[in-house]
């Protein structure tokens, strides 16, 4: 398997790996380690702004990289009820083979699992 530069960079740094805790932390998880892909996002949200974001991923390098990127870009912005980019765009940017589309959906589920309650909470 070959990985593009972006994927390699986020896979090897994986800067935002970890967990957060606290009353203002919203967590979303999706997938199943036993099935080969599991992703978790922790978003710390204050007044609608993402103060910190962490991820965990038992997953392939593409999935790790996309998750790491999502966590990184979220910080400092209003919490977003959708992914910041389309799945197709992410797939292209990270050079993810089509066979892995299902893993993008797992990422999306985990993301929404954290972001949607955060939004709801604000309301």
């Amino acid at each position: 398997m070959n990985y593009n530069e972006l994927t390699r960079r986020y896979f090897s740094s994986a800067a935002g790996a970890g967990e957060l805790s606290g009353a203002d932390v919203f967590r979303g998880t999706a997938g199943d380690r036993e099935q080969g892909t599991w992703v978790q996002f922790d978003l710390q949200v204050r007044e609608g702004i993402v103060m910190a974001a962490r991820f965990l991923a038992f997953a392939c390098p593409h999935t790790v990289a996309v998750s790491a990127w999502l966590a990184e870009q979220a910080v400092g912005k209003p919490v977003n009820p959708r992914l910041p980019e389309s799945l197709q765009y992410l797939q292209e940017r990270f050079g993810m083979p089509v066979e892995k589309t299902g893993r993008l959906l797992i990422i999306e589920d985990a993301w929404l699992g954290a972001a949607v309650p955060a939004i709801d909470y604000r309301r």
Partner: protein, 373 residues
């Protein structure tokens, strides 16, 4: 030579060129080297394009030739794809195949073969050294069973044996044995099938084969095609070198393997695949708990030449069927690495590999949230 012949070096099977004479001598010498390294007779060596072809020639060759005598074959779940896929094709063509399941250590009990033998069994095909986990099967015991049965020929895939452990065709009781050059530091694209010629002494004729490829009558009419002299010479040399160095080398490699395994074991959450005692030391296969397989490979591969699954089949990126046959879960099979140790491996290499693996597995476990596992 005033006019050139059709080919650059002459055709060793041709009796009408002087080029051919020289090439023929070289090929004969290589035949002797290969035969000597595996305890066979030079006349028993049939050159092929590799062990894949040798396995196919043995399996289809026996099945086709003895199709009126019986259509049952015995093999094992942990065989190389070249054996398993040939057997699957025979099943599509109406043969029956029994796939023996090894124990959790990867070993077969000869009793399993005894129980599977049927009156219509024409072939038992088992490997000597497994390419993924290095375990060594008790072929001689199976050879005795086949001789007793009388109608079942024994084929041994010994592609991984030469230079790694002693192998002696004449003592195994096997009728056919597959060899490959590139597993012994020889060139890729050349191998051999050893076809026994000493059957008479065992009270039944020699094994007969229908060829896979026809035309030209080379190699006792068992394998047509122009012999690649340079390839065959390379294989002969590789086998001679393997024979000369293997006992010293094996001790050295065993020490390195020990060091590698002990280094990895300190990580915790690692499992060794396959018997540790009935195995060659050149292959170590380890499952890493709590990490995803593809990421594991991606993280270590810039630094360590390990592979997942069979090195020969990883184009398909599926969990190792060999580890699955040992009862490993699909996940654990995926997050397993096969390390090949050999001539060029030093202690420093091992220590560096242990360092990289320790760092990367710990990192991935952190990312996966399985660090405590």
């Amino acid at each position: 030579e005033l006019l050139q012949s059709g080919s650059e070096y002459g055709n060793p099977s041709s009796t009408s060129h002087d080029y051919g004479d020289v090439a023929g001598d070289l090929v004969d010498a290589a035949r002797g080297q290969v035969a000597a390294a595996v305890g066979a007779d030079p006349a028993e060596v049939v050159w092929t394009s590799g062990a894949t072809e040798a396995n196919n020639l043995a399996i289809f060759g026996v099945a086709q030739y003895y199709r009126e005598r019986g259509r049952h074959i015995i093999t094992a779940r942990t065989e190389h794809k070249a054996v398993l896929d040939a057997c699957r094709e025979l099943e599509r063509r109406g043969w029956q195949v029994s796939y023996l399941v090894p124990d959790r250590e990867g070993l077969l009990d000869p009793e399993q073969v005894a129980a599977a033998l049927r009156p219509d069994t024409v072939l038992v095909s088992l490997m000597h050294v497994n390419n993924e986990i290095g375990v060594v099967q008790n072929i001689a015991a199976v050879g005795a069973l086949c001789a007793e049965h009388g109608g079942a020929w024994l084929h041994v895939d010994a592609a991984q044996s030469v230079g790694k452990c002693p192998i002696h065709f004449a003592s195994l009781g096997a009728d056919l044995m597959s060899l490959s050059a590139h597993k012994v530091y020889g060139p890729k694209g050349v191998g051999a099938l050893i076809v026994a010629q000493r059957g008479e002494t065992r009270g039944r004729g020699c094994v007969q084969l229908t060829p896979l490829q026809f035309g030209g009558g080379q190699e006792r009419a068992l394998r047509a095609g122009t012999l690649p002299t340079h390839q065959v010479v390379g294989m002969g040399l590789a086998f001679e070198l393997a024979m000369r160095t293997s006992s010293v080398e094996t001790v050295r490699v065993a020490h390195l393997q020990q060091r590698l395994w002990q280094g990895l074991a300190t990580l915790g959450g690692v499992q060794r695949n396959g018997s540790a005692t009935r195995a060659v030391p050149h292959i170590l296969n380890v499952s890493f708990e709590g990490v995803e397989g593809e990421s594991l490979l991606a993280a270590v591969r810039p630094h360590v030449a390990a592979s997942t699954g069979s090195a020969c089949t990883s184009a398909l990126a599926e969990p190792s069927y060999v580890l699955r046959a040992l009862g490993r879960s699909e996940r654990l099979s995926e997050s397993s690495l096969r390390f090949g140790l050999g001539r060029t491996t030093s202690e420093a290499d091992i220590d560096a590999a242990v360092a990289v693996l320790t760092r990367e597995v710990q990192r991935l476990r952190k990312i996966a949230g399985t660090a405590a596992a």
